[in-house]
Symmetry: C2
Subunit: 458 residues, 2 copies
């Protein structure tokens, strides 16, 4: 080969290398040096988050940035009934946990929306006690919440006030204190069974001169005495049975607290936007972030609002700015995309779970679950079937007075009816938990039901 | 030129281009494709955070990720007395704000530690109500706190329990409820004036049968009745005057709550690690993150601990996981670097401020501030001068019974002594705020003092 041929092929090889390097350079700066920003101080935090997300915890667990560290990385934290370094090992005979309302059914949604829901918090983020307007409330977050209610059509917020609290938990307490202020005699707090145990627990705990828990709202209804100074908790949809409820007691001195934790398309038809005096919502059941401890109250009356805000001030001096930033980012992810995404996702999941459960229980004479009729939903603009957060299971056999014990013997952990001021013939089963939890619950119930007649159902 | 020469120079040019491209590729992937991780789902969040940090707010403000948006980016949020799109415009005759204890003096520390203090929170971070151990407490964060107390030598934590709360605010309330549980008669809550107003506000607010605020601890001391069922708040160093304090009342049925919010090298000598029954600390005054609403109580007695934990459960179901992650990252930044960095930074700043203030006030007969002796510090292992969080200013002239009014007339906003159960001859001046706030405070006080004799001091 002549020298010019050697030169030609060398030059060709070099040009090929030029092209390869040019392509690589283009890719590594992500579409052009003018497009992808080179990171500096956030690089480390972002890398750490991605590294932790890459830790293999099978589909039965996940690692967290602040988890316990082994061999230089956080351990996998497993779903109930799974164990091992990567959570892949099922624990035989493990009891299906249907006790708590941990809304892990929404976790996959956030994993699918990783980019839009991530937030990088700088070290100097909002260090002061108050916002620039001297409140404890993020204006941006408030506006997002109002917008969300408008889109989901589940509450009238126009002309009303908002208070942020540590979950609906803190706001329930704040509401009772606020509504019992400046009254001539102690307020009597009531609710209609079955009801969420926290109402009584909180009211009893404070042992205050302002109010006391009297109990069953219906008993006051039958009582011909006036309903002076009564505060009624109305949970709609109800926890534990998912039924849409209305106020029981009438009268101008009856004040109401509407606990609307579950009043989202995930769990119920939305017949009309709620327009009550005090309406309490929580991020826990909307986005699934129960750990964030963030809720809000929409309040009609200015004095009640000021009273509730005062409670939050005295008790905690406002809700964490870290939490408010997190909620802001999560709601931004909800509102910026196709805003119905989360509602569709959640409804489809919960509906599917309910249908599967209904199918199993329909084969049983021993157990029954609550009936929730098909109803027109203002949000989906169509009739829709039930998709409640909990099954309110009843043991129908006369001898099964302790239904939770029946389930426990079948390796299912529920929450006994007496916790909700109902008979122990009832058990609340959480349908909110991870897919692993629900699958195991269904398996155990299927086994239990198939034992009834000695017949194999599946 | 022959063909081989053309070929040679073309090949040379191509090789030079290759070298250039290789260098560029190396630089753009930051030291080699094997070193800097390419980000995916965290890129957007990281870019947003950096973009917001780059918004020019002069040195008198900063923008936040969740700030009000104008022209597509969050606005600058300015220090008091500054305004304009970039916070560069000083508001003439603006009052120096020395009212609140917003610890912005620590903001520059975090800006200097941007990389280590940033945390990227994924959308699925800790969605459940409880940690894997069924508590509301992050084990990692707990360990960091214990380590921090060990390093700063300000508290004995061995063998003790820890409760997290929404700032020390929530824990003060939790402690009173816990210590007044299961007593034969209502507890009487006392403190030694001047004291932090919140103690009384909280105790009064709850109007509970369990306890009531009785007031001045010293009065009970002089009273020959027994000190049955007394709960004494001991704030050390004290708010407002920075003095290290001890329990006033003795007796086996006297229970104490030690509010150690300021018991850090920033604000006081650490003569010895505190070893009290209930010791309350807050992130607000340690790292400056008052907005995070995170505090902890170190508790000796198991029953008291369980009671306090019960309060947090009933009131809020634990502190936000977002807040706990943030605290974890901030303490990680403190502990991983040179662990004395933050203490040195903080002490130097506060000491400098105190010395400057002392110098001005020393020229005055009209005003005086508290005297805090030089004391040996177990942390710095040397004698150290005062560096309190607040000046407890006294108007010495007989006619100046309303000292706050005197200051207001001179364009200084303080907090009147009566708020702390002291005379209005006293005013608390916050030395914790931003450098802008302190510089303006000093300027106004200098003017005020120089007016005393009609003489120019500066």
């Amino acid at each position: 080969m002549g020298r010019s041929r050697i030169c030609f092929f060398s030059a060709l090889a070099s040009v090929v290398l030029n092209i390869f390097l040019l392509i690589n350079l283009y890719n590594h700066v992500g579409g052009g040096i003018w497009e992808k920003q080179k990171l500096s101080w956030t690089q480390k935090a972002a890398e750490e988050a991605e590294a932790v997300a890459l830790i293999n915890c099978s589909v039965h667990g996940r690692a967290y940035l602040d988890g316990f560290v082994v061999d230089g990385k956080p351990i996998c934290e497993c779903n109930t009934c799974y164990q091992g370094p990567d959570c892949s090992r099922f624990i035989p005979d493990c009891a299906a946990d249907a006790d708590s309302g941990d809304p892990l059914f929404l976790e996959p949604f956030w994993m699918q929306h990783a980019a839009s829901s991530a937030v990088l918090v700088p070290g100097w983020h909002r260090m002061t006690y108050r916002f620039a307007d001297h409140t404890f409330i993020s204006e941006q977050l408030k506006n997002q919440i109002f917008r969300l209610h408008s889109i989901s059509r589940n509450a009238i917020t126009k002309g009303k006030y908002i208070v942020f609290g540590g979950g609906s938990t803190q706001l329930l307490s704040a509401a009772v204190f606020a509504l019992s202020a400046n009254r001539s005699s102690p307020s009597r707090v009531v609710a209609d069974p079955p009801y969420y145990p926290l109402y009584r627990m909180q009211t009893d705990y404070f042992e205050t001169a302002r109010f006391e828990f009297e109990g069953n709202a219906s008993m006051l209804k039958n009582n011909s005495d006036s309903n002076d100074n009564v505060i009624e908790f109305v949970t709609s949809p109800n926890n534990p049975d998912g039924i849409l409820k209305k106020v029981i007691l009438k009268g101008s001195s009856v004040k109401t607290i509407h606990d609307h934790a579950y009043y989202w398309p995930h769990y119920t038809a939305i017949p009309a936007p709620s327009n009550e005096d005090v309406m309490i919502f929580t991020l826990s059941k909307l986005t699934g972030h129960a750990g964030s401890r963030f809720g809000w109250a929409i309040v009609k009356d200015k004095e009640v609002y000021e009273n509730m805000a005062n409670y939050i001030l005295i008790e905690q001096m406002g809700i964490s700015r870290d939490t408010q930033l997190r909620a802001f980012q999560l709601l931004k992810a909800v509102l910026e995309g196709n805003t119905t995404d989360i509602f569709n996702f959640a409804y489809e999941r919960m509906r599917d779970r309910w249908e599967k459960l209904e199918q199993i229980i329909s084969l049983s004479k021993r157990f029954s679950i609550q009936e929730i009729p098909i109803q027109f939903c203002n949000f989906f603009e169509k009739d829709r079937g039930a998709s409640p957060a909990y099954a309110w299971l009843k043991c129908e056999r006369e001898e099964d007075t302790d239904c939770n014990a029946v389930l426990l013997a079948a390796n299912v952990i529920g929450r006994e009816g007496s916790k909700f001021m109902a008979e122990d013939r009832y058990v609340r089963l959480s349908l909110l938990r991870s897919q692993d939890d629900f699958d195991l619950l269904l398996r155990r119930l299927t086994d239990l039901v198939s034992e009834e007649n000695g017949a194999q159902i599946m």
